[in-house]
Amino acid sequence: MSLIPAALATATGLGVAGAAAGLVLPQRGRGAVVGVLTAGVGVAGGASGVAALGGSRWSAEIPGLLPLAGTHFAVDALSGLFMAVAGAVVAAVAVYGVGYVAGHGAHGFGSRAAQALLPLFALTLVLVPAAASVSTFLLLWELMALTSLLLVMAEHRARASVREAAVWYAVMTHLGLVLLLAGLSVYASQAGGETFAALRVGTAAMSPTVRGLVFVLTATAFASKAGLVPLHAWLPRAHPEAPSAVSALMSAAMVNLGVYGLVRVGFDLLGGGPAWWWLLVMAMGGLSAVYGILQAAMASDLKRLLAYSTSENMGLVVLGVGAAGLFAHAGDKVLAGLALAAALLHVVNHSAFKSLLFGAAGSVLRATGERNLDLLGGLRARMPITAGLFALGALGAVALPPGNGFISEWLLLQSMIHGLAVPGVTTAIVLPLAVAVIALSAGLAAAVFVKALGVGFFARPRTEQAAAAQESPLLMLAGMGLLAALCTALALVPGLLGDGLDRAVAVVGFAGTHPVSGGGLRVRLDEVSASLSPLWVVAALTVALGAVTATTRWASRRQRRRMNARLWDCGGGAPTPRMAYTATSFAEPLQRVFDDVLAPEQDVDVTPVRESAYLVERVAFRNRVPDRIEHRLYRPVLDFLAAAGQSARRLAGGSVHTYLGYGFFGLVALLVVLVVGW
């Protein structure tokens, strides 16, 4: 019982200590100390999360801590799940970060500010799910946003693009905050109380319109935090530009909190709602799943690709959440529990493999200074361990056995397929489409990660930087190793978090179906059943592989393998690395197939020689795939804002601090409102 508060207190202490250490310590040794303390934060937070998953609950009110309204904390299995995930990721990434910062000088990620902010960011990641009152939640939420924003800006000296990304992130995250602010303050004022308990009670008395309003406002805010299309614009900018350790934290722990908020507010506080809420959510999820992975398929920047893949996976998760809401609305708590369990399981899996992938991408960036897949290649020979780890993460991301992503997507598909048992035309029309969306995104994900792995790591290097790559330092590998172990464990024995998953689902009042237990997955509803045992699959594959290799060896006459034979070059000169397929050319067929969706911009200009128009001197071909939604949706708004800005420069000066100011004022205003509230 007393473990959770103790652990949380430790986490807080370590976090503050880490921040202090980051500020005061000299440059050498700073990274190590901060890293250790941050890892401590992760471990402590993870421990409390695990304890909560184990079934213990804790809630407390600390009056003096926050002026005006006191702070409330409550930890149940649902928040425990997200705390555990965040804690595990933070711990591993902190270890990774120690090695990562060693390379950097006193600037960028190694700077005082960044090192001081890292533990705080980690702390907020762990604490947000524990918040149990509107003000506490918003305070931690805003702290998380600010620390992450400043961390994104860590390397702004190195690249100008960082600033632009930071502005985008600042604007979008604070627009999100304003929406959240509005939604929750309306909610609090209507419910007559700002603690979550009071909200739960007050919901019953609220009119459907108000609840709808609250849901739409908060859901939009959470969706933008989770990087769902069309509110994703910050994601493919901020993730690539942030230091890789930070990208890993953001993409594997922070975006989850968007989902957490959606589940907490939508199911736990508002206690579910009409079908149109969840259809809205599902539509958003489906859109982000397909559009995100399509953009990832087009991207040739490794970290941008990973960022878009995050938006895809969050889309899948939210699809599951929406389905759960739909089923719950139809009154089938069992199916709802199944769908929600699938969604939460996918959150866990995604965090595991995505942090691993970002870590590997970070080591590639550190070793070559390149993010562009077209300029990489041949890394498998130069940094074999990193390549292996990336392959492991990719296996999880492509949702194929024996990866860990496959398990949760299998469960998600099961919940969709069996969802047809819920009567009603909506389900009969929505669910097949949902299945198609999941299938398409899985198929495209396979193409995406074959591209990332095959073009980025295999074959031969295309540039000197890639050729000169060195394997990463031990600590980075160790950090990634932890995550890899996590992925493997999740892939082989998902039963590890079976009961915890059920408890988390039970928090919002759905029936736990024990989908994940022991070595395998089993779906048992009345007159419906399906089962999958990852261990068996792995064993079968290994046995078959052994049998095949043994038989071939036994049957083949010539055992000596001709090594390092010259590649078959059609008799011409040996193929140069420039002849190998690049990421762009790999994506070309998909780009053609989805021409209408992606609307790529291509232009060819032919310059003939001066003497004759028929002799071509130079042909230039440009091809880029812009984020169409962004262009169609944001450009007009931005142009309008720019026009407005002309008239009112003082308001929208484009400086980050102004935007931050708005956020702060909003927060303070809320607190005032709350105090005046009673």
Partner: protein
Amino acid sequence: MNTVGYAAIVLQVGAVVAGAPLLTGLMRQTRARLEGRAGAGVLQPWRDVRKLLRKEPITPIGTGPAFRWAPPLLVATSLVLAVLVPLVSTDTPVRARADLILVVSLLALGTLALALAGLDTGTAFGGMGASREMTIAALVEPTILVAVFALSIPAGSTNLPVIVAGAADQPARLTSPAGLLAIAALAVAVLAESGRLPVDNPSTHLELTMVHEAMVLEYAGPDLALVEFGAQLRLAVLLGLLASLFAPWGIATGASLTAVLLALLLVVLKVTVLGMALAAAEVFWAKLRLFRVPELLAGSFLLALLAVTASYFLGTEGGAR
């Protein structure tokens, strides 16, 4: 039961392993006869495998584990499929594990391994083949899974033996519009997955028209033997799957050895007929342009979707319970 069940699995795997090259040989022979040729005989694929095993394996420079391990992995996935898919009996020890979604993703795993190998060589053709293969694989996925959806509605499960057994004892499921549409959709998907006409031409010599072949241009000797054998296994298993999904009659549902043997005979017969029909059809088809393939797949996806809706709206079973 168990002994019979294990016997059924052993028989099934044995039949698939021994029969897959024969199936390919039979299809080539059928084609040859329709083209007025004499044909190399049904045993030719086995001769090819034997010869390739006697030849020298080659590892091109700059290739790594992906290139080395893709062929065995391809065969391994196909073998696991041969164990899982209920061809002769629905009452085997693995019946609880034979999930249709798992089957689909194991197929995809084999494809992915080969695509990585194609990229690993770093040749233009390898990359081209990999890119095309993954594009097609990505587009096939929705068709297959929605068809799976349609099939699982009447059975109430994605478990293959349950579906097959259910279809076996009430054939009405198969002749319903849902069943027929699902058949059509899945048949197209199978053509695409196994790289046959009109999606891909397995006997092309022109690199620029290749999809699957382009990825394996660098393999020689035993590796090539594995690649070809794997492709043959996939085709055999997929045709067998089609056979037992849509013509499950005679498949053993009980624990009697005679029933199993009879089922084995029947499934061999069905697959033979299917193979010859496919080969005959291929004589009439031309390979589609790569960028016409999406139309084909969109069509099959539409069929699958119609199958789901039809089985929900028309069907009395499934749907609202």
